[in-house]
């Protein structure tokens, strides 16, 4: 703070060096700019989905009479209506809703880990990081189930890279690419979270004197949650 007052006295700009104008460490800034570039990648995928969908005929009949056809784009809630252990019961979007809730909760436990880190509370960071990892793994498990159900289908042959029971080929291709790319992010997030958890337990951050790594990996983890919010809307709801 005194550095700011001093620089004003000498007529220097905050960008002239000697202090950090963005008041964030190098690592945190680079994480922000990496996430910005990653946001562009995900936007490109979702927007291309929009392009391809607009280029296909939409289903024009009533929702009750909907059947799968290669001739029009399917209504997503008719495709994703299965829930584990409730075989044959149509529950549209319920399972995706559960997955969304799991990811939001793991984001919350991540913020709590960051908060504990600010207070140098090693036990707290350990506890909340572990919950975050469990949340991430649960989400991945759900996604594995969703994929296997999507691939094997409900009697109409399911979907793959060269066939699709639910609608035009591109629909399945986008499902695999978008949720797969997001799932890969979740997976690397879990790996990073585990590394932070390990370093917390072994006392690396306590000896370092701060828990900034938890914040940086936390930014990444929240971003993964953020992307899911958009995937949920543009792939499942719209």
């Amino acid at each position: 703070m005194s550095a700011t007052a001093h620089s004003i006295d000498t007529g220097k700009n905050i960008w002239d060096g000697g202090q950090s104008p963005l008041k964030a460490s190098y690592g945190k800034l680079m994480m922000w700019f990496f996430l910005l570039s990653d946001a562009f990648t995900f936007s490109a995928l979702l927007i291309t989905y929009g392009l391809i969908r607009t280029a296909h005929p939409a289903y024009s009949g009533t929702v009750e009479d909907f059947t799968f056809s290669q001739d029009y784009w399917p209504i997503p809630e008719k495709v994703f209506e299965a829930v584990p252990f409730l075989h044959g019961v149509p529950l549209p979007l319920v399972f995706v809703g559960i997955m969304t809730f799991i990811l939001i909760m793991s984001s919350v436990t991540m913020v709590l880990a960051v908060e504990a880190g600010h207070r140098m509370d090693k036990k707290g960071v350990e506890k909340w990081m572990l919950w975050t990892i469990i949340g991430g793994l649960t989400f991945l498990g759900c996604q594995a189930w969703e994929w296997s159900h999507f691939i094997s289908g409900t009697g109409g042959g399911g979907a793959g890279l060269s066939w699709n029971e639910y609608g035009p080929m591109d629909f399945a291709a986008f499902f695999f690419f978008i949720t797969g790319f997001h799932g890969t992010h979740v997976f690397s997030g879990v790996v990073l979270n585990f590394l932070v958890y390990y370093n917390t337990i072994t006392g690396v951050y306590e000896r370092r004197g701060h828990y900034e790594m938890v914040e940086k990996v936390g930014l990444y983890w929240h971003f993964v949650d953020l992307v899911w919010v958009f995937v949920f809307t543009f792939f499942y709801l719209v």
Binding site: L36, V111, G124
Partner: protein, 110 residues
């Protein structure tokens, strides 16, 4: 192994207000997701435009809470906030251009 050197680290008490804000944000996110479900099954598919506008609006509100509170961007320096938000203009442009292009491809095909 390091218990001797770590035992003198001062753990600060938790700030109740901060924790409350975190859970409040989580509650808002859960509530909006629940509302999205409500809209998905109450607003008929014939009102496609209304549905899309509501969904996108709610998604942007959710995104704002995640980025602002969870990622702490709201509390950063203004320059940092703008250097993250302004580049998003490209995404908006891409969305407009690509959906327009998609409609044009549709007109050419059918």
């Amino acid at each position: 192994m390091h218990t001797e050197e770590t035992s003198n680290v001062q753990v600060m008490p938790a700030d109740k207000e901060k924790i409350k804000l975190i859970w409040k944000t989580a509650g808002i996110l859960a509530l909006i997701t629940a509302l999205e479900f409500l809209v998905a099954f109450t607003v008929p598919h014939e009102m496609e435009m209304t549905r899309v506008v509501i969904f996108i609006g709610m998604t942007i509100v959710k995104a704002a809470y995640i980025v602002g509170e969870f990622m702490h961007l709201k509390y950063e320096v203004k320059v940092l906030i703008w250097s993250i938000i302004i580049p998003m203009i490209f995404v908006v442009w891409m969305l407009v251009a690509f959906v327009y292009e998609g409609a044009s491809i549709y007109d050419g095909r059918f």
